[in-house]
C-alpha cells in the first residue's frame, strides 16, 4: 500500500465547484430567541472530511461509539454535549492526536479528501488539519516566533526573518491580531492577554495554511468580550478552512455554527443544521439537553 510520504509543500486538491448551501434556514426555536445568530447562511459548502463509523476506546473503555459525520469547508460544525461525552476525543482523532495516547484505539475510518487519514503521514496530516486547544498554549517565545515556528520547522533550511514576515503578518491578520501586536512582535507571547493568546494560537494554526481547523472549546478560558472577538473570527474563517469547534456552550454553538452534532455518552445522538437542531430537535435527549434539562 502506498504511503503518503510527500514532503512539503502540501498537496492540495483543486476545489470542485461549490455546491449550493445545503441548509435551509429553519425558524428559530423558542428557547433560543434570545441568542442572536450572528452569521448569515453559508455561501457554499464543500465536503472535505468524512467521519465514517468511528469508535474510539482508551484501554478498553469506549469514549466514542460509531460516529459518522461530514465536515465541510464553508461551514462551521459544532460538536456539543455534556462533558465526557467524547466530543473532544472525536476532535482529536481527526488529526490523529489521539495516537499520542498509547492505549487509544480507533475503529472505522476518517477521510480527508477521500484519503484515509491513517495513510497520511501524521505530521503532514496535522499541518493540513491543525488544532487549537482549550487552554491558550502559546510557546514561551516572542509573538513573531510563535507564528513563524511552524513555517521554520516545515522548511528544509532555516528561513530568515525577513522572508517569513509576509506569511507571519498575514496569519496574524487573518486571526485579527495584527493591529494589536504589530508594534511589539518581539514581545513575549505569554505576556499577552488570554484572548490575545488564544488568537495567537489560531494565527499559529493558520500559518500552517491548514484545510481544516479544529477548535477545542477555544473560549472556555476567556472572558465574554474576548469570546465575542473569537466567535466573529471563526465565522470569518469558515470560507477558507473547514471549521470544527467543540463547545459546551449552547449559545455559542447556536451563534456561530452552521451544522451541529450533539453527542451524549459517546454516541452521536443527532446531527443537523444549527437552527433545525436547536429549534426543532428530532430526538428526545437533544430536546432535553438544548432546553437545559441536563449537562
Amino acid at each position: 500500500m502506498e504511503l503518503l510520504r510527500t514532503p512539503p509543500p502540501i498537496r492540495r486538491l483543486p476545489l470542485p465547484d461549490p455546491e449550493p448551501a445545503t441548509e435551509v434556514m429553519a425558524p428559530a426555536g423558542a428557547g433560543f430567541s434570545a441568542a442572536r445568530r450572528s452569521i448569515g447562511a453559508p455561501q457554499f459548502s464543500i465536503r472535505r472530511m468524512e467521519v465514517d463509523g468511528v469508535s474510539i476506546s482508551y484501554g478498553g473503555k469506549r469514549a466514542v461509539r460509531d460516529v459518522s459525520l461530514p465536515i465541510r469547508q464553508g461551514e462551521v460544525l459544532a460538536l456539543i454535549g455534556p462533558s465526557g461525552c467524547g466530543k473532544t476525543t472525536l476532535l482529536r482523532s481527526l488529526n490523529r492526536l489521539t495516537e499520542l495516547t498509547a492505549t487509544a484505539r480507533l475503529e472505522g475510518s476518517i477521510r480527508l479528501d477521500d484519503v484515509d487519514v491513517t495513510l497520511i503521514e501524521p505530521t503532514l496530516l496535522r499541518r493540513r488539519v491543525t488544532m487549537v486547544f482549550q487552554q491558550p498554549n502559546p510557546f514561551p517565545m516572542s509573538v513573531f516566533d510563535n507564528v513563524a515556528y511552524v513555517l521554520r520547522e516545515q522548511g528544509s533550511r532555516r528561513a530568515r526573518r525577513r522572508t517569513l514576515e509576509p506569511a507571519v503578518h498575514s496569519a496574524l491578520q487573518r486571526a485579527g491580531l495584527f493591529d494589536e501586536v504589530k508594534d511589539n512582535l518581539r514581545h513575549p507571547a505569554l505576556k499577552l492577554s488570554g484572548g490575545q493568546q488564544q488568537r495567537l494560537c489560531i494565527a499559529r494554526a493558520l500559518a500552517a495554511e491548514p484545510e481544516v481547523l479544529l477548535l477545542d472549546e477555544p473560549c472556555s478560558a476567556l472572558d465574554p468580550q474576548s469570546t465575542q472577538v473569537i466567535e466573529d473570527l471563526i465565522v470569518k474563517l469558515r470560507d477558507d478552512v473547514a471549521v470544527v469547534i467543540v463547545t459546551h456552550n449552547l449559545q455559542q454553538a447556536y451563534r456561530i455554527a452552521d451544522h451541529v452534532a450533539f453527542m451524549y455518552l459517546g454516541d452521536l445522538v443527532e446531527y443537523g443544521g444549527a437552527t433545525a437542531l436547536f429549534g426543532s430537535p428530532r430526538e428526545q435527549r437533544t430536546r432535553e439537553y438544548v432546553s437545559g434539562a441536563f449537562g
Binding site: N95, L97, L100, P122, T123, L124, L125, R126, R127, R128, T130, M131, F133, Q135, N137, P138, F139, P140, M141, S142, Y149, V150, E153, Q154, P188, A189, L190, K191, C201, R204, A205, A208
Partner: protein, 330 residues
C-alpha cells in the same frame, strides 16, 4: 507591640521571639560565608601581593617554585612567595572544560532519550540508576580510573614511540588528560542528566502538544520546544557540574598525573596523553605544608582562585537564567 500580652495569657513562644531567633541564625550563616571569603582573601593576600598578575602567568617550573616556598619557611623571616600558576590553571581549564563540554553534549541527548524516546520500562529503570550514579562518591570514580583506565591508557593507547618522543620532557604513564577528562565526564554527566531530565519533564505538556498538533515532528518538537523551554534547568545543571568539576580535588589528584606540567596542544594528539595537575589537586597534594606560612598563603591563593571561578560560574548561570525567563520559560 512586643510585650502586649501579659505572660500568663501570651503564647509561650511569641512569634516575635521565634522570628528573631531564626533571623539570627540566618545572619550567622550569611556571616559565615562572608567570613569564609574574608579569610580566604586575607590568607591568600601575601601570595598575590608578591606575584601580582604574574601569579596567573607562566614562568619556570611550578614544582621548583613550590619547593623553594617550602624551604623558605625554615628561614623564619625571608619567605619566598614566587609562584607562577599557569600550568595548573591551564590544566584546570583543559580538564574541566573538556569534561563539562563532553558531559553537556552527552547529557543533553541522554536526558532527551530518557524523557522522550526510551521505552517506558527502560526510562523507569534509568531514573534511579542516574540518581545512583550521580551520588557515587568521586573517590570511587577515581579508584576505577586509577586501577582500570590509567594502566589501559599507559599500556595500550600510548605507543612506545610516543613515549620515546617526549622522554626527555615528561614520561607518559597513563596518568593523563585523557584519563582525567574521561573519569570526570563519567562523574558529572549523571548529575547533569538528572537535573536536565527533571527540567524536561517539567515542560508544560500543552506546549509540546501544541507543537505536535501543528504537524511538527517529535524530534523537532522535543528540541525546539522541550529543550528550549528547559534551558534554565540546563544552565543550572551545567553550572552545578562545572562547580563540582572545578572543585574536584581528590579524584583528580589520583588520576591527572600530579605533575605541574602544561600539556601543549601544539604537540599534536599526544598532548591528551600528557600528565598535568589542576589547581584543586595541588592543594590536596601539598596539604601537609599548610603549617608553613608562605606555603599556607600559596595554597590559600589557589583556593581564592577556585572560589572566584565557582562564584563566576554561578553568577553567569544566574544572569543567563534571568535572560531566558524573559519569554516565560519555566
Amino acid at each position: 507591640m512586643e510585650d502586649q500580652y501579659s505572660p500568663e495569657y501570651g503564647p509561650s513562644w511569641p512569634d516575635r521571639r521565634v522570628e528573631r531567633l531564626l533571623g539570627a541564625l540566618v545572619v550567622f550563616v550569611v556571616g559565615l560565608l562572608l567570613a569564609l571569603i574574608a579569610v580566604v582573601i586575607v590568607r591568600a593576600w601575601p601570595s598575590f601581593a608578591h606575584n601580582g598578575p604574574a601569579w596567573f602567568g607562566p614562568g619556570g617550573s611550578v614544582e621548583d617554585q613550590l619547593n623553594a616556598i617550602s624551604l623558605s619557611a625554615a628561614t623564619g623571616s625571608h619567605y619566598i612567595y614566587t609562584f607562577h600558576a599557569w600550568p595548573l590553571i591551564w590544566s584546570t581549564i583543559l580538564i574541566t572544560g573538556g569534561a563539562v563540554l563532553l558531559a553537556l553534549f552527552a547529557a543533553l541527548f541522554v536526558s532527551v532519550f530518557i524523557v522522550e524516546f526510551a521505552p517506558g520500562w527502560l526510562a523507569n529503570v534509568l531514573q534511579p540508576v542516574v540518581r545512583f550514579l550521580a551520588s557515587v562518591p568521586s573517590v570511587i570514580y577515581g579508584l576505577i580510573g586509577v586501577v582500570v583506565l590509567v594502566p589501559f591508557i599507559g599500556n595500550h593507547l600510548v605507543s612506545e614511540e610516543q613515549k620515546a618522543s617526549v622522554a626527555g620532557v615528561i614520561s607518559l604513564t597513563g596518568y593523563s588528560l585523557l584519563a582525567a577528562v574521561t573519569v570526570l565526564t563519567v562523574m558529572i554527566a549523571p548529575l547533569m542528566v538528572s537535573i536536565f531530565s527533571d527540567g524536561l519533564r517539567a515542560v508544560k505538556p500543552g506546549w509540546l502538544e501544541g507543537s505536535l498538533a501543528l504537524g511538527v515532528n517529535r524530534w523537532r518538537t522535543v528540541w525546539k520546544i522541550g529543550v528550549r523551554s528547559a534551558r534554565p534547568a540546563i544552565v543550572a545543571g551545567t553550572v552545578l557540574a562545572l562547580a563540582r568539576a572545578i572543585g574536584e580535588a581528590v579524584m583528580l589528584a589520583m588520576i591527572s598525573g600530579s605533575v605541574a606540567f602544561a600539556p601543549n596542544p601544539a604537540d599534536g594528539l599526544i598532548f591528551i596523553y600528557e600528565p598535568s595537575r589542576p589547581l584543586a589537586p595541588t592543594i590536596v597534594k601539598n596539604i601537609d605544608q599548610l603549617s608553613s606560612p608562605p606555603f599556607n598563603a600559596t595554597l590559600f591563593s589557589i583556593a581564592a582562585v577556585l572560589l572566584f571561578a565557582a562564584a563566576t560560574a554561578s553568577l553567569a548561570g544566574h544572569l543567563a537564567r534571568r535572560a531566558m525567563r524573559k519569554y516565560g520559560a519555566a
